[in-house]
C-alpha cells in the first residue's frame, strides 16, 4: 500500500491493513427456539422424514455474515445458513431445549456502518470503501477449536454409537464469549419414519466466559438405541471460533 492506515498487534500481527475489510458488528437480536420438524433422513424414493426438535428459522441481511451465538440456557448450533440472494441469508438454529439465543451478526465494515453522526477514526481503502470504523465493534477472536467425536477418518464407515461427549473451555480475559464459524456433528436415523427415531447432535452453550460443548443422543417414538452408526466420518466433525462479546 502507498497510503492509508495500518494497525498491528504488539506481537507484529496485522489487525487493519488498509485494503482488507474487517468484520464489524452489524446487528444483534434474540431468537427463540421451539418445537418444529427437523429433517432427519430420506427414503430412497426421496421421502423426507423428520424428527421433532427445538429449531428456529430467521433471515439475516449481510454481505458476508459471521453469525455469533450466545446461548446460556441451552446447547445450540447453526444447522444451515443458505444464501437466498445477494445479502440475504436463511438461517436455522437448533437447541437441545426451547430457549432464547442471542444472535450477533458481524459483516464487512462498509455494510455495518453505524447510523448517526460520525466521530473517531475511519479507515478507507484506495477506492474509498470503508474497511474499519472506530464506532464499530470489530470481531475479536479469542480461540478456535475443532475435533471429531469418534476420531474418525472422513470416509464412509461403520462407527460405534457415542451417546455423549462433553468438553468445556474458559476464557478469563473476557466477560462474555460467543461462538461462530460453527461446525456441527450430526448423525440421525428416523428408524420408524417421521417422529420415530434418534439423532445425535453437538451443541454449544455459552455462559459468561465459558463455552461448553455437548454431543448427545436424542430419541423419540418407538425406536431402538443404535449400537453402531453407518455414516461418513466427517459427520462427527465439530468446530467453532470463540469471539469476544464483552460489553456489547
Amino acid at each position: 500500500m502507498t497510503a492509508g492506515f495500518q494497525a498491528w498487534t504488539d506481537s507484529g500481527l496485522v489487525q487493519i491493513d488498509g485494503t482488507t475489510p474487517n468484520y464489524a458488528l452489524r446487528q444483534s437480536f434474540n431468537v427463540g427456539t421451539n418445537g418444529g420438524d427437523m429433517p432427519a433422513g430420506k427414503s430412497n424414493s426421496g421421502n423426507q422424514y423428520t424428527l421433532r426438535a427445538n429449531i428456529v428459522d430467521f433471515t439475516v441481511y449481510a454481505a458476508t455474515p459471521l453469525i455469533v451465538l450466545y446461548s446460556p440456557n441451552a446447547y445450540a448450533t447453526i444447522l444451515r445458513c443458505i444464501r437466498q440472494e445477494a445479502n440475504t441469508w436463511a438461517v436455522r438454529l437448533w437447541s437441545n431445549n426451547s430457549a432464547t439465543i442471542g444472535v450477533y451478526v458481524f459483516d464487512q465494515a462498509s455494510a455495518a456502518v453505524p447510523s448517526g453522526p460520525g466521530f473517531g477514526l475511519q479507515v478507507f481503502d484506495a477506492n474509498g470503501t470503508l474497511i474499519a470504523d472506530a464506532r464499530q465493534r470489530l470481531a475479536r477472536v479469542i480461540d478456535t477449536r475443532a475435533g471429531n467425536i469418534n476420531n474418525a477418518g472422513a470416509g464412509f464407515g461403520q462407527w460405534g454409537q457415542v451417546d455423549q461427549r462433553s468438553y468445556s473451555w474458559s476464557y478469563p480475559g473476557v466477560s462474555k464469549i460467543g461462538v461462530a464459524a460453527i461446525g456441527t456433528a450430526f448423525v440421525s436415523s428416523p428408524t420408524g419414519g417421521s417422529n420415530s427415531g434418534w439423532y445425535n447432535m453437538s451443541g454449544l452453550q455459552t455462559t459468561g466466559n465459558t463455552i461448553n460443548l455437548n454431543y448427545a443422543y436424542y430419541q423419540q417414538g418407538n425406536t431402538s438405541h443404535p449400537g453402531n452408526n453407518n455414516c461418513f466420518g466427517s459427520q462427527y466433525d465439530w468446530r467453532f471460533m470463540a469471539v469476544d462479546l464483552s460489553n456489547i
Binding site: 494497525a7 498487534t9 504488539d10 500481527l13 496485522v14 489487525q15 487493519i16 491493513d17 482488507t20 475489510p21 474487517n22 468484520y23 427437523m38 429433517p39 432427519a40 433422513g41 430420506k42 427414503s43 430412497n44 423428520t50 424428527l51 458476508t64 455474515p65 459471521l66 447453526i78 444447522l79 444451515r80 445458513c81 443458505i82 444464501r83 441469508w89 436455522r92 477514526l121 472506530a134 465493534r137 470481531a139 475479536r140 477472536v141 478456535t144 477418518g153 472422513a154 470416509g155 464412509f156 461462530a180 464459524a181 461446525g183 456441527t184 450430526f186 448423525v187 436415523s189 439423532y199 453407518n230 455414516c231 461418513f232 466420518g233 466427517s234 459427520q235 471460533m241 464483552s246 460489553n247
Partner: protein, 102 residues
C-alpha cells in the same frame, strides 16, 4: 499497552487495542463437492474459515450419508476436501466459505 491503536466505547470500555486478534475478510468461495485450494498471503499469520452449510446431515438418504467438508490452513494456503462417495445415495454438504486473516 505501550504502543498501537486503542478504541474505547462510550462507557470507557476498551474495545480494541494492540493485543486484539481481529478478522480480515480476504474472500469467499462456494464449494459443492470435490477438493480445492487457494493461496492468499493474508492467511500466513493465522487464518479463519467460516463455512455456511446449505444442507444439514438430516437432509441425506438413509441408504447413504452426508459428505461434509474439511478445511485446513497451512501457511498461505487454504485447502478444503470431501471424502469420496460410497454409493449413489450420498449427498454433499455444499455452501459458501468465508476466509481471511486473524
Amino acid at each position: 499497552m505501550t504502543a498501537g491503536l486503542q478504541i474505547f466505547d462510550a462507557r470507557g470500555n476498551v474495545v480494541f487495542d494492540a493485543t486484539y486478534r481481529v478478522l480480515r475478510i480476504a474472500g469467499s468461495v462456494y464449494i459443492n463437492g470435490g477438493g480445492g485450494s487457494l493461496v492468499d498471503g493474508r492467511l500466513a499469520q493465522g487464518g479463519f474459515v467460516s463455512f455456511q452449510p446449505d444442507v444439514t446431515c438430516g437432509d441425506g438418504y438413509l441408504s447413504g450419508g452426508v459428505i461434509t467438508p474439511r478445511f485446513s490452513i497451512s501457511g498461505s494456503t487454504l485447502t478444503w476436501s470431501y471424502a469420496d462417495r460410497h454409493n449413489n445415495y450420498d449427498i454433499v454438504q455444499s455452501g459458501f466459505v468465508f476466509y481471511g486473516g486473524s
